[in-house]
């Protein structure tokens, strides 16, 4: 899994490529929490268009991101969901819990 962060002022896009699993999710978790905690970002968009697999530890990292955002009144968005990641969010009934966007550019 690779992560590429694009920061513009108070808004960041976290582009993820590859599988998000027990091996790789700690890096995603750390990236997102750092953006909220150390960088004071008001909006973090996780662009998942390059991701075909998310397991429960990946879900856990995304939930932590959302929890952190709620705590500091920031915004946390998942963009570009492919079929398998969308399916996991459906199965865990979290699709309605997250803010979802078709693509990172769609988030205004």
């Amino acid at each position: 899994m690779d992560i590429n962060v694009k920061r513009e002022g108070k808004r960041s896009v976290v582009e993820v490529t590859g599988d998000i699993d027990l091996y790789t999710s700690p890096k995603l978790r750390q990236t997102v929490l750092e953006l909220f905690r150390q960088r004071g970002q008001e909006t973090v968009i996780v662009d998942l268009s390059g991701v075909q697999y998310v397991d429960s530890s990946g879900i856990a990292s995304l939930v932590e991101g959302l929890q952190e955002a709620k705590k500091i009144d920031a915004r946390f968005v998942l963009a570009g969901l492919n079929e398998a990641p969308r399916h996991v969010l459906e199965l865990t009934r979290l699709l309605a819990v997250f803010e979802i966007a078709d693509s990172a550019e769609d988030v205004v």
Partner: protein
């Protein structure tokens, strides 16, 4: 046709992807479509992740065994480890959409597979999972 593969792997999360690719290919060759194959792969990935994280408490130098079998209209996957014993009945059922990070692995396995069973065989923990092939997609 009954057919089986068995694989022994080190308990390092770097091999999770290999486990998934092997299981996905097995499921597809057993006749499951792409969506079911992905779901089965997820369930097995969760079971193996639990072995690494919980049974072996994160130790990456242990081994676990994965056995996939397919016969008349079903797929069976067994994961064996010799780590800490585990009783799934002691794990509370939590709503998956509650806002807490962990605790969705067992839920996903149960949701995806038709049957799941935990047992102890000598010094080993055994998780057995089964999924039936939908009548529309035999191969």
């Amino acid at each position: 046709m009954a057919d089986a593969i068995e694989i022994t792997i080190a308990s390092h999360p770097r091999w999770l992807r290999l486990v998934r690719q092997t299981v996905l290919e097995f499921a597809r060759e057993a006749g499951f479509d792409a969506r079911d194959g992905d779901a089965i792969t997820l369930a097995v990935g969760e079971a193996v992740g639990n072995v690494i994280q919980h049974a072996y408490e994160g130790r990456s130098d242990q081994n676990f065994r994965l056995c996939c079998r397919t016969g008349n209209g079903y797929l069976e996957v067994e994961v064996r480890d010799d780590g800490r014993p585990f009783d799934p009945d002691e794990v509370p059922d939590l709503a998956p959409d509650e806002l807490r990070p962990g605790g969705r692995g067992l839920f996903l396995i149960k949701t995806i597979m038709d049957e799941i069973e935990y047992c102890r065989d000598g010094d080993e923990n055994v998780v057995s999972m089964r999924k039936r092939l939908a009548a529309s997609a035999p191969k």
